[in-house]
Subunit: 248 residues, 2 copies
DNA sequence: GAGTAGAGATTGTTCAACAATCCTGCAAGA
DNA sequence: TCTTGCAGGATTGTTGAACAATCTCTACTC
């Protein structure tokens, strides 16, 4: 079976390299054999998408992926469904699954939701102030330190990962499983957008210090100023992404 | 989608009756043979759950449902995934799918999100006031009239359906596909909670006139007062559900 | 060159089978 | 009596093959 040929979409990816890479990640994940095969396959694909090995617009061939991931078509399709629900894949009836291509409109939509939800979480902390032990902020401290260390090493994608986990943990302060779900999806889609940035450094670097400032405001329990800072933070971040789109 | 008039059939694990009922709904939905089999199967199950034929805590047997819905196990499982994403089913590994049993904590969680999102939509309308033609409110008017008509006929489940569609259409004013998704899930879970109410009349009746009042504030473009009214509306609704739980 | 028919490829769905896991009931032992 | 352990049965998890439905691309006609 001639397996190179038409990759169907305009952008071409290094097929050999990509498959080898996928195989490596597959072996990597196979060790932690918890959960179902479908979820494991979804894990591999999720990493491949968020880390950029599968670019927006790319089509995922069922036959190809059954061979690479070593699962049956049915199981693979179940993995597709999982990722579709996270917003990392889109189904087109009778045409297949694709990595979605987000645009400026999606940036606005995502950040609108982020602002509403994240800012509300911080403002809501004021009501449960006595209930919130300082230890709850521990994960946020870890994320800030991780981002700083990664920045020193020049590992900008790792900085981005730490930044996003900071916000996920920030949302986690609300103790809402549904909010956690929603945030997971929003941040996953955000990663899709990051790939339009030519230089990840400029995308992530400014927010290391701002996350730290935000954390200090939270530790001081000055939730009003923290909420304001977070709001402006998200406005600026949105502007940065939109500018990157225009300069693309 | 239409009238929920004939439903009822007070809860009973009457197996024969339930299967016959499911078969009826299946034939009902089979007519609109749009889209995939999985989505059609999901439609049937969704109605069965929201209308109370499948109670919270009930397990859905794969073998039984493949016979009733006349789809293969794989397709049925895909339907399960769709409903799982909507929050209408939960998976337990190697044990099967169940209709979730929500409690007071879920009520608080759901209403917290509803308040944040819906109130923000209304407040956000102020910024795009000139852009919002009155025709955008047409669906809301329809929903109010539908609810009023259903109330006159004593069809309280239909009143509930119209009320919920009112809020879905309210969210729709924001033109955010992600917000629509989230709302769909929140409202679906809310229907799960409605079944704890012994008398659907007391659950839905008070909100007909309040939806109308809200609509009038929107038509007058008094978004600030509309947002305040909506906020109080949701607080009261939450209290009503929590009271029903205590009285259960 | 534009439009159309058909071949090939891909997805949608079904079926049957087996493996893995969970639940039930019963018997043995303290 | 209570607990523990072990079959046995039932259900879910996963696979592979097969066929139908649909899309895409090529080649042909005009």
């Amino acid at each position: 079976m001639s397996d190179d040929a038409h990759v169907s979409t305009p952008q071409r990816t290094d097929d050999e390299g990509r498959r080898a890479w996928l195989r490596g990640v597959a072996a990597d994940v196979a060790r932690l054999d918890r959960s179902s095969s479908a979820e494991r396959a979804a894990d591999v694909l999720r990493r491949s998408i968020t880390e950029g090995a599968l670019q927006p617009g790319a089509q995922l061939s069922e036959i190809e992926l059954t061979e690479v991931l070593e699962v049956s078509r049915n199981t693979l399709r179940e993995a597709f469904r999982l990722l579709t629900h996270e917003g990392l894949l889109v189904y087109k009836l009778h045409r297949g699954v694709f990595v979605p291509e987000l645009d400026e409109h999606d940036v606005v939509d995502l950040y609108r939701l982020r602002r509403v939800l994240e800012v509300d979480v911080v403002r809501g902390l004021a009501e449960r102030d006595p209930e919130l032990p300082s230890s709850r902020l521990e994960p946020l401290r870890d994320d800030v330190e991780t981002a700083q260390a990664a920045a020193l090493g020049g590992r900008w994608p790792a900085v981005g990962t730490a930044n996003m986990r900071f916000h996920r943990n920030l949302i986690g302060l609300a103790d809402s499983s549904r909010l956690d779900d929603i945030t997971g999806r929003l941040l996953a889609e955000l990663r899709l957008l990051f790939h339009v940035m030519a230089t990840p450094r400029e995308l992530h670097e400014p927010y290391i210090v701002r996350n730290q400032a935000l954390l200090e405001l939270l530790e001081a329990r000055d939730y009003e100023r923290a909420a304001d800072e977070l709001h402006q933070y998200l406005v600026d971040s949105e502007q940065g992404l939109l500018a990157a789109f225009k300069a693309r």
